[in-house]
């Protein structure tokens, strides 16, 4: 029994390590297909269970994202003015915001198909773009691209582009405005307030 358990632990460990060391295009494909597979089988996500969609994203998608870099990109030049602690708080709030808002999109992904565009990279590349396309019945296909960077532990996503719109840099003007008006702490507070109101919506949806 114990032996089996240890074997299982090692197998899981090995599997996740193998996934982390995977080429970036393979990683994107594996994670996408795994998540789509779950969405296609899960009736409550299809019926709009936002909390379940968030949990799914938290478990399967988030480990492959570098939120520190994403937040730096979203903030732009003011990032360097933020203290390490402020940077950490910003990244945490921004992560919550992105996960809350975009997990919702998953609930409508039952009939979607993702097509993976041909991928090229050179041996030494440490920053790549993986291009995909989301196809949906009765609608135009949507371009969905991921920017990834290489770490010792594997590749991490630091930007997502939907139809050419970076979900990250699209915040730059809004964040800049907030920082100009009330500083870095003001921005942290603004995102936190937004997150709280979204959490309120979530609780309301749960109650009905």
């Amino acid at each position: 029994m114990m032996k089996k358990l240890i074997a299982l632990v090692f197998a899981t460990l090995f599997a996740s390590l193998a996934l982390a060391q995977e080429a970036p295009d393979v990683l994107v494909k594996q994670v996408t297909e795994e998540v789509l597979d779950i969405v296609r089988k899960d009736k409550s996500i299809q019926n709009g269970d936002a909390k379940k969609a968030i949990d799914l994203v938290d478990a399967k998608v988030i480990p492959h994202f570098n939120f520190q870099h994403m937040t730096a990109l979203a903030v732009g030049k003011d990032w360097r003015k933020a203290s390490p602690q402020q940077q950490q708080q910003l990244a945490a709030e921004f992560k919550t915001l992105l996960v809350r808002t975009y997990s919702n999109a998953l609930t409508s992904y039952k009939d979607h198909k993702v097509v993976y565009k041909p991928f090229r990279m050179n041996a030494g590349d440490s920053d790549v773009l993986v291009r995909t396309e989301v196809q949906q019945p009765g609608n135009k296909p949507v371009q969905l691209d991921y920017s990834l960077e290489k770490f010792d532990a594997g590749w991490k996503v630091y930007d997502v582009n939907v139809a050419g719109i970076s979900l990250v840099t699209n915040y730059r003007e809004q964040f800049g405005q907030e920082i100009r008006n009330s500083g870095i702490d003001g921005l942290i507070k603004a995102i936190a307030t937004k997150n709280k109101s979204l959490e309120g919506n979530l609780a309301k949806a749960d109650g009905k």
Binding site: A72, G76, N139, A163, G164, I165, L167, Q174, E178
Partner: protein, 244 residues
């Protein structure tokens, strides 16, 4: 007089200083500046549009989305997509993208015949890719790559360039001509297309509402990014990373 001149002079020197700082910061940032000098007007128009959308446009689109079955909606989308291929052929040609223009012409011929007046997008099934181009993109390719942002009620986000482009697109749009003997039929088609487009955007409403700290800025910047992507046919040159 002198006082005014002094203020003017001081202002200019502060202006120069700021400009200098921006120039210095330039290579580090390498972000594209948002061109929105008419922000006040634009925000007012945005508010008008939000009101119209809430009271009329969105409810109509929601009814359409709820009542019309998916195959019919797909047919409507394909029908107007086919008409848009006229514009695509024209603008691909104007931009010197002759291979794309050829493919789009092929799409137009196939979908208008085998696809029964464009109700079915047979060409896509056959692997003929669509190349969306409009006159605003053509102007950008011709060199007008920077343009100030404008927001119009009902028409939505544009730039000065894309507003001009949109007017030309309307003039080259068969919907406004082929049926111009029957004003009622033409107007119905234009209205149907409008509702169809709005209905296709319904799923994004909630995301924008939830994701934006400032909805106007979110919509504006998304529009400008999307246009940049379209102008470069899906592969815009990368902007420098602030962390590098």
């Amino acid at each position: 007089m002198t006082g005014n001149f002094m203020t003017w002079k001081r202002r200019t020197s502060i202006g120069c200083l700021v400009a200098g700082m921006i120039a210095l910061a330039g290579p580090v940032l390498a972000e594209e500046a948002v061109h929105d000098p008419l922000e006040g007007f634009n925000r007012a128009m945005f508010a008008v549009n939000e009101g119209l959308d809430m009271v009329i446009v969105k409810p109509v689109a929601q009814v359409y989305d709820f009542v019309v079955p998916l195959p019919a909606k797909a047919g409507v989308g394909d029908f107007f997509g086919n008409i848009a291929d006229v514009r695509n052929v024209l603008n691909n040609t104007l931009q010197g993208k002759f291979a794309d223009a050829g493919t789009d012409l092929g799409r137009l011929l196939i979908n208008s015949t085998i696809g029964i007046f464009g109700l079915f997008d047979v060409a896509s099934e056959l692997g003929l890719e669509k190349h969306d181009e409009d006159f605003g993109q053509t102007l950008a390719v011709w060199g007008w790559d920077d343009s100030n942002f404008l927001f119009w009620p009902l028409i939505g986000p544009r730039t000065v360039r894309d507003t001009g482009g949109w007017v030309v697109d309307v003039y080259t749009d068969p919907t406004w001509y082929t049926l111009n003997k029957s004003v009622a039929a033409r107007n119905s088609l234009v209205a149907l297309r409008f509702v169809d487009v709005r209905a296709s955007l319904l799923p994004t409403d909630k995301v924008v509402e939830e994701a934006a700290l400032d909805k106007y800025a979110y919509v504006r910047d998304a529009y400008l990014q999307r246009r940049r992507n379209q102008i470069f046919d899906g592969s815009p040159p990368r902007l420098e990373d602030v962390l590098d």
